[in-house]
Amino acid sequence: MTTLTRQDLNFGQVVADILCEFLEVAIHLILYVREVYPSGIFQKRKKYNVPVQMSCHPELNQYIQDTLHCIKPLIEKNDAEKVVVVIMDKEHHPVERFVFEISQPPLLSISAETLLSHVEQLLRAFILKISVCDAVLNNNPPGCSFTVLVHTREAATRNMEKVQVIKDFPWIVADEQEVHMKEPRLIPLKSMTSDIVKMQLYVEERAQKT
């Protein structure tokens, strides 16, 4: 039974790996449920022992992976405050924002076994909540696209620019237009607290979508 402490070099990586895997599944699922892309490109795959929808399109998958690859170092150092999946309409005004607020509690030590199955259960619950979120959200207009924003603590992005994680995948500071949404409605979806991470998912939705 392995015990990890925060001093372990691996700890941050373990948490970041878990979170990035989860975010990948969550992003694919959001794209499926909110019909950003036609459901034909999605196929059923298994994660956390339940079926989830993932896309088959290679470029989309690569884009999402590259995005998360760049976010991972931020999560490792606990610099990422929020990861936001923004769905925008044709005029690039945000229509919906799925906000994952992440924080890592200060922690002395954890035991790996019970932890992981517990975390898996919590993440399963998140996945389930995303699947049924269209009960509480209005439909999106057709022709939407999406993007991923990261809100970081302090000046972490400056470090990021210095060390470009992936060569051809530059991150830019988001426009005010993309960040700010007119008359948002807040709908909380799920929150979880575990030994290694505290996460909250809520949706900000524009009052009038079309």
């Binding site: 036609p38 339940v50 079926p51 088959c56 389930l128 009960a135 051809d168």
Partner: protein, 440 residues
């Protein structure tokens, strides 16, 4: 029955935005499943009378239907909108009940499984406490019995496996670790099978011969189904008294030995039985699953029996699964070529380290004439060794879809909208993906 349950369900559905399945409800409230089904039904009636926010429901329908000239027993979960349609397609409807109630419109069946997953996991020891599927002789074995059975297993297992080379991928059968959890349930199944074996042992053999050939039609009447299936559960790779000449005779021989051997013996090792049985039963049923393109619920209804069977499937060799494919692929495109089974048989009887060819689903991405990216999933023959662990479960659906390459190359906003070409492709060839809520 007091009316409190209506408020409970209301709370779950409306306030918590949960998907309330009858199984989850029965485990949560501690009531029998039939009561839970009735509760859901009354709740739906109640809510429909008051004009309240829209609720969606799914129903479980089971009955007989004729599919391509063959009668079969179908169990499906269908959406409410498709219920009447589905019912009219069946020749005889045996049962309908509410499967789940939720606020959200479900696009696929995945969440229905997720909902029950955790509930069942928490109640693993007694998840059938409220169920109406019962078998009086199904009791978990004590650890002593378990150990004895395991010892008996290991001794004679090695003998018959030499004689059944290509059928089950013999080595993979022997090397399967036995899990404790399935033992209780497989114990139940073997009891069932032994009692069935007592009945018509002579009749079983000819039936075996019918069922065994791989060109078996994918669906069969329930009566015919249970008997050979039970035989497969009961069949163990022990005491091969008879000389085994060909695959089919091998299977029938094993089964008949089973009949002759002591009937009350418990058979704890699920995997060999499951593997053999998999060859034809889950073969056809998994093909059925693919044809149906309806997902887990169809299997779920048969409950643990099927669930246990399905589990070893991805691990065991697939080459016997593939040859069935030409038949069930009536809804699909040009069927994959037949497996070179002769090649397997010619590999001889060595137990391990046999290189075989198997068909693996591989996906190719390439640019076609119009410059569109096409992803094609097709079967390819691949040579592999039995000692390799990474068996790939073969997937049936062939998905061809086109995606226009975005005109702007990789920037942050490069996800330009996919055209309707994808959806039109979907219309012609993508039946498998959206299959859950369709009638088939």
């Amino acid at each position: 029955m007091d009316e409190l349950y209506l408020d409970n369900i209301d709370e779950y559905v409306n306030d918590h935005n949960k998907i309330v399945t009858y199984k989850w409800l029965s485990l949560t409230l501690g009531v029998h499943v039939n009561t839970a089904k009735q509760m859901l039904y009354h709740y739906l009636e109640h809510k429909r009378k008051e004009s309240s926010p829209q609720l969606h429901a799914t129903y479980l329908v089971s009955g007989k239907s004729v599919d391509n000239g063959q009668t079969c027993h179908k169990v499906s979960v269908v959406r409410e909108e498709q219920l009447e349609d589905f019912k009219s397609k069946m020749t005889l409807v045996v049962s309908i009940h509410v499967y789940s109630v939720q606020k959200a419109l479900l696009r696929d069946s995945g969440p229905l499984y997720s909902v029950d997953y955790d509930a069942v996991k928490d109640n693993l020891k007694n998840c059938s406490r409220y169920s109406s599927i019962r078998c009086a002789s199904a009791v978990p074995m004590s650890s002593v019995e378990l150990r004895q059975a395991r010892e008996k297993e290991q001794a004679p297992t090695s003998v018959p496996e030499n004689k059944k080379p290509a059928v089950n991928g013999g080595a993979s059968v022997a090397s399967k670790p036995s899990a404790k959890a399935p033992k209780g349930i497989m114990g139940m199944l073997s009891f069932k099978s032994t009692s069935k074996n007592q009945d018509g042992s002579k009749d079983i053999k000819p039936e075996q011969k019918e069922v065994a050939p791989v060109t078996d039609p994918p669906k069969s009447k329930p009566a015919a189904k249970t008997n050979p299936m039970a035989n497969f559960f009961g069949s163990q790779t022990k005491k091969a008294d008879r000389p085994i000449k060909e695959e089919q005779e091998a299977r029938t021989a094993v089964v008949s030995e089973q009949n002759q051997s002591s009937q009350q013996e418990e058979e704890p090792e699920p995997e060999p039985a499951a593997v053999q049985q998999k060859d034809t039963k889950t073969d056809s049923r998994s093909k059925t699953k693919r044809i149906e393109e309806s997902d887990s619920e169809e299997e779920k209804m048969e409950k643990k029996k099927r669930r246990r069977i399905k589990r070893p499937e991805p691990d065991s060799s697939d080459e016997d699964v593939i040859p069935d494919s030409p038949q069930p692929l009536e809804t699909k495109d040009p069927s994959p070529k037949k497996e070179v089974e002769a090649a397997q048989l010619s590999h001889g009887n060595s137990e391990t380290k046999v290189r075989k060819r198997r068909r693996v689903l591989k996906s190719h991405v390439f640019l076609d004439d119009e410059g569109c990216m096409v992803t094609e999933k097709g079967y390819e023959s691949e040579s592999y060794s039995e000692t390799e662990d990474d068996f790939q479960p073969s997937k049936q659906p062939r998905d061809n879809f086109k995606a226009k390459l975005p005109s702007s190359s990789k920037e942050n906003e490069k996800k330009s909208q996919k055209r309707s070409s994808a959806s039109s492709q979907k219309g012609t060839k993508q039946a498998s993906i959206t299959g859950f809520f369709q009638k088939k």
